[in-house]
């Protein structure tokens, strides 16, 4: 019997059990739709993160102390916030070929911030240099001047107090020991040049002050022999065309730096580009996506069991029909083909319905999560192939059973 007749006959028997077939197909639909959904949402989130990073900090090289021996630690989110980089290190790095700026970053411990009689509690604010605020990052006003009692705030910081904070307002900073300093708010920014990738995700209020005069952590520089400000983190802004060269030079310099002498044994100094962070993030998102998708695959396994079950019932019900077909000339492979075709159709229909459903659900999910929808085409193809495969695999045993039916017994079967 040729393939088209086999499919036609198989289609007929599926249609003759509409409800049963539909319920079986729903299992496959759910399986395929979940796989497509999770894979697509994962791909979308990943693409969104990558584009976010790529746009703002592609030419940054981050210099951080990280716990030693933690090879898989990757990005320094879990970095050690111990001040080790001296002003001497900053000067040296700034004179490296391809480096445009070196932005130090440190925390100033405070206890509270007050604006227009509204005080908010706050543990720390960020100390950095004016170069952290490139022109395109400034929403309003200007960058602070080094040595001045001025502050720059993030956009979300404007709503941190009861009364809106804006350029020209005054902000009182209460230090840990209770001293109060008043600064002028001179600018509002939507990002900083030295921020770590993804820092803008948090969207929380941030306050920036100049390292001079606010940052007070100092160490004795072994190279200079004098006490200097020391920072836990540096961001090297490189010439965009030379990011990887700069990363190498920075890493080289670190071996003979003040920081190398000052750091504790347990800490390593690492230079990482945005690309390194992106890779790491992609790895993590990829792992999560694969894990969740693997869970969705369980739904497919359940669907396969559903098909196998219904096909076995079908073989039992149609034992006599199998006998008739064999009596009028059906070969074992004809019978096998019929039942296998039936199972395959169930799987394929499930895949064909499940795919657009999965795309629709994942599209909805990305809108809800406010990330751009990135279709995972590879997974779409896999989903359809897997749906068909599920049908074939689930149909194999029942079809084999059908093919082995003894026509003599089957014709006596009532």
């Amino acid at each position: 019997m040729d393939a088209s007749e086999t499919l036609r006959m198989a289609g007929r028997s599926i249609r003759s059990h509409k409800l049963r077939s539909a319920l079986t197909v729903i299992g496959v639909v759910i399986g395929i739709a979940s796989v497509v959904t999770f894979a697509s949402v994962g791909a979308s989130v990943e693409a969104d993160i990558v584009s976010e990073v790529g746009s703002s900090s592609a030419s940054n090289v981050y210099v951080l102390p990280t716990p030693a021996g933690d090879d898989d630690g990757g990005p320094g989110f879990g970095g050690v916030s111990q001040p080790v980089f001296t002003e001497h290190d900053i000067d040296q790095l700034e004179n490296t070929l391809g480096v445009r700026q070196v932005l130090p970053r440190g925390n100033v411990r405070v206890s509270a911030l007050t604006h227009a009689n509204d005080t908010i509690s706050r543990n720390q604010i960020t100390a950095t240099t004016p170069a952290s605020f490139p022109q395109d990052a400034i929403v309003d006003g200007r960058a602070f001047r080094s040595g001045a009692e001025e502050a720059v705030v993030s956009r979300s910081a404007r709503q941190a107090f009861e009364e809106n904070l804006s350029v020209g307002d005054r902000l009182s900073i209460e230090s840990e020991d209770g001293n109060e300093t008043t600064v002028d708010v001179v600018g509002v920014v939507n990002r900083t040049a030295g921020q770590l990738p993804f820092a803008s995700f948090a969207g929380q209020p941030r306050f920036y002050v100049p390292t001079d005069p606010f940052y007070e952590r100092t160490l004795e520089s072994p190279a200079v022999g004098a006490s200097q400000r020391a920072y836990p983190q540096l961001t090297v802004v490189a010439d965009p065309a030379r990011v990887s060269t700069v990363k190498g030079s920075v890493q080289n310099y670190l071996d003979g730096s003040d920081a190398a002498e000052l750091k504790p044994e347990s800490v390593e100094l690492t230079a990482q580009t945005s690309g390194d962070f992106v890779e790491e993030i992609q790895k993590i998102v990829g792992q999560v996506t694969r894990f969740v998708t693997a869970i969705a695959v369980i739904a497919l396994v359940v669907a396969a069991i559903g098909i196998a079950n219904i096909m076995l019932v079908s073989v039992a019900e149609r034992t006599r029909e199998i006998g008739i077909m064999k009596a009028v000339g059906a070969r074992n492979r004809d019978v096998m083909g019929l039942f296998l075709a039936e199972a395959t159709i169930l799987g394929a229909v499930g895949a064909v319905v499940g795919l657009p459903l999965g795309i629709a659900v994942s599209y909805g999910a990305t809108i809800y999560a406010e990330v751009a929808f990135t279709p995972a085409y590879g997974w779409f193809a896999i989903a359809v192939a897997v749906g068909i495969l599920v049908g074939v695999v689930a149909g194999l045993y029942p079809a084999w059973r059908a093919a082995r039916v003894d026509p003599i017994d089957a014709l006596r079967y009532e």
């Binding site: 019997m1 007929r12 029909e321 006998g323 008739i324 077909m325 009596a327 009028v328 000339g329 070969r331």
Partner: protein, 243 residues
Amino acid sequence: MSSTAETPSADDRVVRLADVRKTYDLGGTVEALAGVSLALAAGSYTAVMGPSGSGKSTLLNLVGALDTPTEGRVTVAGHDVGRDSEAERAGIRGTEIGFVFQTFNLMPRLDAIENVALPLLFDDWPRERRRERTRELLSLVGLGDRRDHRPNELSGGQRQRVAIARALAPDPAVVLADEPTGNIDTETGAEIMGLLDDVNARGNTVLLVTHERTIAEHADRIVHIRDGLIESIEQLDGAGRNA
């Protein structure tokens, strides 16, 4: 009418059983056929009679290539049933044998025309030829106007007519009828037997299995079997046509 005169060779015997034995192992050996030799000439009409357990079903299964002999040789249209593979036997069933069962054994979800076409489907006939052939056969058995009825929309007699049309579809070497009137009333049964007589009159070889004398008398000869052996072969009035 007779082809014997032109080809008086062994080929003329479309079915041959030579010292056939069939034993089943059902926790102790049961001998269903204990050495049976029988030949059916082309165009002959043979009835097999015997009480239940005599071996007639076994005989029918062997001639129908549904089963293989334990010993001896069964040939149908030149094919050695005992030596052919399972797939080859399926091919023989589809092209050389037409079954007519007591319980009709039609496919419940297929209509009359599809049921008749079933053997042709497995024999890879093109759709157009299948349609032509099935229409012709349904008209022949008097169901030209019931082509798209399903078995549950047909009477017992009509179902058996569909089954006869299906048996004739591949133009088989032999038509095997197993108690063809067993599930229908006497009057309809007579019609069905009339149809089988016509089938034989058109030149088809017919092997009829029954336990009713009146039905068996439609044949040219009656083979009486008992305990797995041929007891006697009785030639009837109609005999001589192919002898």
